[in-house]
């Protein structure tokens, strides 16, 4: 009762007590929307009705394949790593090098293919870490309620006050720049979204009959939480995860661009943009293609996530 204004406790299915907005690139899911249709069926529906989401899914599948097969499909696999060919520096795009070569003569197409591995790894690692922490705390908060929830929600409020890129920036400065740093730094700023979202859903799930029934039967709280509340609370988080992947990739690229993430010789798109920027006016391809790779990847995650969200929205009107 006294918490009726807390955004984290928006009643399921009610209209927007506000929205939850995810980090940069993140999109919006009304807080506490309870999603009932299964993701798979929704995906099929989305594919039938939504050209954009379908395009996103196809693009994403291609990107994942490219990442997995990079060592085999890259024209110059050794260019994904330490190789340098000073004699072939800054060749413009042509038959031998479709996307041209960089300042040390590496094939840009090959580095972009290997870069897909870095970006997808970061996205998966960040989201797994953030979801593990966020969902656990969120479920506990939503189930326990009372002061436990108040404490957890205030802590998430504090973390939410830092835009993802900003806190990552501060963290990345004090930690040593590396891919792992980027993962930790972004995950630290990303988990509160899942905590909030899960808490709102778990709270409404916890109020349902079968949870009461389990409680009356004397089922221990941890079992109730993980067997009954958790499985029924995760769907909105899965949707949010697919919406957020694009934002994570953009944030990670920005950190690497600032020199706070991946460093030589790792193939990373943001880093490639940074290394090429002084050459942009004369050798346009060194910056253009890595940037497009970021754009396309973030775009395909975003449209897919958005399509998924729209398809799973029981009110089904946002599409």
């Amino acid at each position: 009762m006294k918490d009726e204004h807390d955004a984290g406790t928006a009643e399921a299915g009610k209209t927007p007590d506000p929205i939850t907005v995810s980090g940069p690139g993140g999109l919006v899911v009304p807080a506490g929307v309870v999603l009932r249709r299964t993701p798979l069926r929704a995906l099929a529906g989305a594919a039938r009705g939504d050209l954009l989401a379908t395009a996103g899914a196809v693009l994403l599948a291609a990107i994942v394949l490219a990442a997995l097969l990079a060592p085999w499909i890259a024209p110059y696999p050794e260019d994904g790593g330490t190789a340098t060919h000073p004699a072939q520096a800054l060749l413009s795009p042509g038959a031998g090098h479709w996307f041209g070569t960089d300042q040390v003569g590496r094939d840009i197409l090959s580095r972009i293919l290997f870069g897909a591995r870095t970006s997808l790894f970061i996205a998966v690692a960040v989201l797994a870490l953030a979801a593990a922490v966020g969902v656990t705390l969120g479920v506990v908060a939503g189930y326990a309620g009372g002061w436990v929830r108040d404490v957890i929600m205030r802590v998430t409020d504090v973390f939410l006050a830092f835009p993802a890129l900003l806190l990552s920036l501060a963290l990345a400065v004090v930690l040593q720049p590396s891919v792992a740093t980027v993962v930790v730094a972004i995950a630290v700023t990303w988990w509160p979204w899942y905590a909030r979202l899960t808490a709102a859903v778990a709270q409404s799930v916890s109020a349902r009959g079968y949870v009461d029934a389990a409680r009356c039967l004397g089922v221990p709280a941890p079992v109730i939480v993980f067997r009954h509340v958790l499985p029924n609370s995760v769907t909105p988080v899965t949707v949010q995860l697919s919406l957020d992947a694009g934002g994570v990739i953009l944030t990670a690229a920005a950190l690497s661009y600032l020199g706070l993430g991946a460093h030589e010789p790792t193939a990373e798109w943001g880093l490639m943009v940074q290394q090429g920027q002084s050459l942009f006016t004369t050798d346009w391809w060194v910056v253009t293609f890595p940037g497009l790779a970021i754009l396309v990847t973030a775009f395909s995650f975003n449209v897919l996530g958005e399509g998924l969200r729209a398809a799973l929205d029981p009110r089904g009107r946002s599409r």
């Binding site: 927007p16 830092f162 973030a298 975003n302 009107r317």
Partner: protein, 338 residues
């Protein structure tokens, strides 16, 4: 309302306390000795001890945290390692320029995003809707630093339509010096009638503001569309049509008002993100704001400056959230009534 207000303010105070604590914790993680960082690697033992005493590094952590918070409250945000100036003073100079850039970007974003959202909602599932969704999805997927580079190279470098970098033509400082009131150049130029600097600033603003506007414009268009579609499915929108209003009028004159709450809160939230996105753009366009300051600070591992920037943006974010809740009370009578 008063109870709601006090509760909301109480929450904000708690969050600010947490923000200060977290910033302090992050800065304490710094590997290496802050005293060395300040006094320099070749400092003598005595100089190091002096630096340590000056920053209270020998005190217990709780005392340090307390002193840190007390100093912040007094306006002492530490001394930057690379400018050797008080951080608060640096930020006070840099922040208005950031505000100018992000403010201009937000005006563009709202002016583009809301009408696009209305258009998409009106022609839901049609070609305009598809185009708006495609464009807005691209806008939120653009790496902002890359967009800044591309726009700068094409429109300023190759085509030469706009200035490459800076806030205004610095030679104007000699020919028509600016009298400073707000530190926001364009506002000062406007109120003092300094047209050369005003037009020059406006001209310099175009490219970076458009780049910063891309993300918020995309989000606002999507949100406006979704909120309008939601509202136009409500009975009150049906009644408005039954009263003889056309579809566009129902959207703009009836649905937009109840939808304004979520859209407004979104605008305030993306404002905070736009500030951070603006950092990357400032670095590219050499805009004399907090972002360029932060980029310099990162390069020189200037922890007090980083802490200051972090704190400033977090506080802004808390303030923006608070403003959203108050604004929502203004636009939505249902909230006001509570």
């Amino acid at each position: 309302m008063p109870r709601y207000l006090t509760r909301r303010l109480g929450q904000a105070v708690l969050v600010v306390a947490g923000v200060v604590g977290l910033t302090f914790a992050v800065m304490r993680l710094v590997p290496g000795d802050p005293a060395v960082a300040f006094a320099g690697p070749r400092a003598t033992e005595a100089e190091l001890a002096a630096a340590r005493a000056r920053f209270g590094l020998d005190d217990p952590l709780w005392t340090q945290l307390w002193n840190y918070a007390r100093d912040l409250a007094r306006g002492d945000w530490g001394v930057s390692l690379h400018t050797k100036q008080p951080v608060a003073q640096d930020l006070a100079l840099a922040f208005p320029a950031s505000l100018e850039l992000v403010g201009a970007a937000m005006i563009v974003a709202v002016a583009a995003g809301v009408p696009l959202g209305v258009l998409a909602a009106r022609f839901k599932a049609g070609l305009p809707d598809f185009s708006v969704r495609l464009t807005s999805m691209l806008a939120v997927s653009l790496p902002v630093f890359w967009l800044a580079l591309v726009v700068q190279t094409v429109f300023a470098g190759n085509l030469g339509w706009f200035p490459v970098a800076g806030e205004y033509d610095n030679s104007l400082d000699v020919t028509s010096p600016l009298r400073v009131y707000t530190n926001i150049t364009i506002v000062d130029a406007l109120i003092t009638g300094n047209w050369p600097i005003f037009t020059s600033t406006l001209w310099h603003l175009v490219l970076p503001a458009l780049v910063v506007a891309a993300y918020p414009a995309g989000v606002i268009a999507q949100m406006t569309r979704a909120a309008l579609i939601e509202e136009s499915g409500q009975d009150h929108a049906r009644l408005a049509r039954a009263l003889g209003f056309g579809r566009i009028a129902v959207l703009t004159r009836f649905a937009l008002r109840p939808a304004a709450g979520p859209v407004l809160s979104l605008i305030a939230l993306v404002f905070a993100y736009a500030i951070v996105n603006g950092f990357l753009v400032e670095a590219v366009f050499n805009w004399p704001g907090v972002g360029r300051y932060a980029a310099d600070a990162i390069r020189s591992l200037d922890t007090p400056a980083i802490a200051g920037v972090t704190l400033l943006v977090a506080l802004l974010y808390v303030a923006a959230n608070l403003a959203v809740d108050l604004l929502q009370g203004l636009v939505d009578p249902r909230v006001r009534g509570r």
